[in-house]
């Protein structure tokens, strides 16, 4: 991924694309901060990108027409968020957003292992998306009001949309929890399978990247503290719904964003299939 971390003209603008971004002046950041921010952005972009593609697997087969349209639209929203994160990353550290998004081998992606599971059944997708969206909300909160304005302003916009995503998923978790024996047991089974991987959203960044970002005022708190806050939130919700989830939390593992398995490789084959026909082509 050298093309991602190589510093290049960061003032480049692309009229008509990624209009959600403020002008980016990476010279306001020192090299360490810029590299740390680039790493964080890549993890967030990959998270949104991969969850968007997994959830788009429901297009055409969701439990009802309305849910089909809604879930597909939510999936598109996430890919939209990934797009601006990749774009911000490219302006900060060089490279081209499309190349970063589609041009890596599967093991080069830095998304959380929570997002390595396939679509499975509806309860599983709801559970996974709920765990991801709640974790993402905590992470976005820690980035809102940060000192790097292009990111802080972007996060403010994204949070307004994510609030509705979360409300949508929360409604579904409530429905499945209160919808009878089968929906409830499927939801509990999915949460049990996913629970240990949910923490991977808070996988520590490499080296001292987190403390660099915290010192620079870009990230409010280290990811391990965010993980604790997230745990309180989700545990409270599950308790209120009477859901039995085997919650045992440790410190997020260092390898939570690597070692993607065969399911992700299948998805990667799908979402890069057009790109790989002619990399660099203009569509």
């Amino acid at each position: 991924m050298t093309e991602v971390t190589t510093a290049r003209s960061a003032l480049r603008t692309r009229p008509g694309r990624a209009g959600d971004l403020d002008p980016v002046d990476s010279t306001t950041l020192d090299g360490r901060t810029r590299d740390a921010l680039a790493e964080l952005l890549l993890t967030m972009a990959d998270d949104e990108f991969v969850v968007g593609f997994w959830d788009s697997e429901w297009t055409g087969i969701a439990p009802a027409l309305e849910q089909d349209v809604a879930f597909s639209s939510l999936a598109q929203d996430e890919i939209g968020h990934a797009r601006v994160f990749y774009e911000l990353l490219s302006r900060l550290a060089g490279g081209d957003a499309d190349t970063i998004a589609f041009g890596r081998q599967p093991q080069g992606y830095r998304h959380a292992r929570l997002l390595d599971h396939p679509r499975t059944d509806w309860a599983f997708s709801v559970a996974r998306r709920y765990l991801y969206d709640t974790a993402d909300a905590v992470r976005l909160e820690a980035l809102a009001g940060g000192s790097f304005m292009p990111l802080a302003n972007l996060v403010a916009k994204i949070r307004r949309e994510e609030t509705y995503h979360l409300a949508h998923l929360d409604a579904w978790v409530g429905r499945l929890a209160g919808g009878g024996e089968q929906p409830r047991s499927r939801l509990e089974g999915a949460l049990e399978r996913l629970w240990t991987d949910a923490l991977t959203v808070f996988t520590p960044l490499t080296g001292d990247a987190e403390s660099v970002l915290v010192e620079a005022g870009i990230l409010g708190e280290p990811l391990a503290l965010l993980a604790e806050r997230w745990l309180k939130l989700t545990r409270g919700r599950f308790d209120a719904l009477g859901l039995h989830v085997p919650i045992e939390l440790g410190v997020p593992r260092a390898d939570g964003r690597s070692g993607h398995g065969a399911d992700f490789e299948w998805l990667w084959n799908e979402f890069t299939s057009v790109y790989r026909l002619e990399p660099g082509a203009t569509w």
Binding site: A64, E66, Q67, V69, W122, Y164, G179, G180, Q182
Partner: protein, 118 residues
């Protein structure tokens, strides 16, 4: 799925995708600030919360609305009784077309001194 109704949840919770029939909700939208609310269409949802989410995705996911009203169809007071709306009697006297106005209008204008004698 054929979960027994004996659990008593089916009626209160509603279902999607298992053969039950969720409520129909009518959606009205305001395209831009100040426009009248116009009927946009309808959708099925098991409760108001999901109905609102679906309405957002159906009628503003491309930002084409500034306001939506979502109304459960069964909450709408329906008036379609033909005896009230289409009574079988001649009502043309209630329409302007039921009168020949030209002569009366001319006389009125003359009285008001508005007519020039070209």
């Amino acid at each position: 799925m054929t979960e027994p109704a004996a659990e008593g949840r089916v009626e209160t919770v509603g279902r999607l995708g298992d053969g039950a029939d969720p409520d129909v909700w009518e959606v009205f939208r305001e395209e831009k600030e100040g426009d009248p609310m116009r009927h946009a269409g309808n959708l099925r949802a098991p409760d108001a919360e999901l109905a609102m989410h679906y309405a957002r995705e159906f009628y503003s996911r491309r930002q084409e609305s500034v306001r939506l009203w979502v109304v459960r169809r069964s909450d709408v007071h329906d008036l379609s009784d033909p005896d009230l709306l289409q009574p079988p009697l001649d009502r043309t006297f209630k329409k302007p077309g039921g009168y020949v106005m030209r002569d009366k209008l001319e006389q009125a204008r003359r009285r008001a001194g508005e007519v020039d004698d070209r």
